[in-house]
């Protein structure tokens, strides 16, 4: 699990763009399958897919991509950190909530 979380972190560091978002979604599916508490990975997967679908096959201005990135990366990192340290479900749920709020704000 920690190896996959590290992979997730590394992929996030590459940035948010369509090809990477689909791969992130795929990795989150694997993580959800492997984890007894799959909810965070399922939510991340859905959000990655949603962004990829909204960005795919259209001219995506760099500013728009950067804005979404600036809103999403920190909450994502916080979720990973919380899972990694074995935080309580409540804490993970709170971070997940922050992440979803960030996504709602970031997307037009």
């Amino acid at each position: 699990m920690s190896r996959n979380l590290q992979q997730l972190r590394e992929m996030l560091q590459e940035g948010l763009y369509v090809d990477n978002l689909w791969q992130l979604a795929s990795l989150c599916k694997d993580l959800a399958m492997d984890d007894p508490y799959p909810l965070p990975f399922f939510v991340m997967r859905q959000v990655f897919m949603e962004i990829a679908t909204s960005w795919d096959e259209r001219p995506l201005p760099v500013d728009e991509a950067n804005y979404v990135k600036s809103k999403m990366l920190k909450p994502l990192e916080d979720i990973i950190q919380t899972i990694e340290v074995g935080a309580s479900k409540d804490e993970i749920f709170d971070r997940l909530n922050d992440f979803v709020i960030a996504w709602l704000i970031a997307l037009p």
Binding site: E14, G15, Y17, V18, D19, D56, E57, P59, P61, V62
Partner: protein
């Protein structure tokens, strides 16, 4: 300008290619600005091919120029990667049909279908077919190469690759080096000037390559 040894030359229907460029400009298919591409790279330009291929005249001209390009090459199937190739393949099939030429059409899915038939290729592609791969745009060549691999795994031979626009970012060179017979109707290099190709970029099995003018 890259020069390759040339076993033959192909002539495009330049008038159609020029008209496609005009349609592209009319519908605003060539955009300039700062864009993030699917690969994560940034670009100073964007080509929205579907604005052409989903316009009535654009679809017709694209179908016509590609069908003419393919006639006599022995190609009996045309397809490409979803979703850019959908309207192109349909346009080619309709124009070919009008000329009494039978050609099979298919689409390669970006990802294998995960339910039902689990198919990677949709439509009509028989084993052993001589295939033309089409797409609206080529940048690094990733999409076209995905389609080529899927077709070759289906035991077919890719004898031609045609794209509407070459963004001149390595994809066409990659295909030529891999030995594929590649043609683009237009080039849209950095700087933003759109160039209509006056002849095809060609690479063949013979003589290890072709000429590109």
């Amino acid at each position: 300008m890259t020069i390759y040894a040339c076993p033959w030359e192909l002539q495009l229907n330049i008038e159609s290619a020029k008209r496609i460029k005009e349609v592209a400009c009319e519908v605003g298919a060539f955009l300039q600005g700062e864009f993030t591409l699917a690969s994560g790279r940034t670009s100073d330009r964007y080509f929205d091919g579907k604005l052409i291929t989903l316009s009535q005249e654009g679809a017709y001209e694209v179908g016509k120029v590609i069908a003419e390009e393919l006639e006599g090459t022995g190609v009996n199937a045309v397809g490409g990667l979803a979703t850019g190739a959908y309207p192109i393949v349909t346009a080619v099939a309709l124009v070919a049909r009008q000329s009494g030429w039978q050609i099979s059409t298919f689409i390669v899915r970006e990802q294998r279908k995960k339910h039902g038939t689990m198919r990677k290729i949709e439509g009509h592609l028989k084993e052993g077919s001589r295939v033309a791969i089409v797409d609206d745009v080529i940048t690094t060549g990733g999409s076209v190469i995905k389609a080529i691999k899927a077709v070759e795994r289906a035991n077919c031979r890719v004898v031609k690759v045609i794209v509407l626009v070459d963004r001149v970012e390595g994809g066409s060179d990659k295909l030529l080096k891999m030995g594929y017979d590649f043609t683009s109707l237009m080039k849209y290099p950095a700087g933003g000037e759109v160039i209509v190709e006056e002849s095809a970029a060609v690479a063949g099995d013979a003589a290890g390559g072709a000429i590109r003018r």
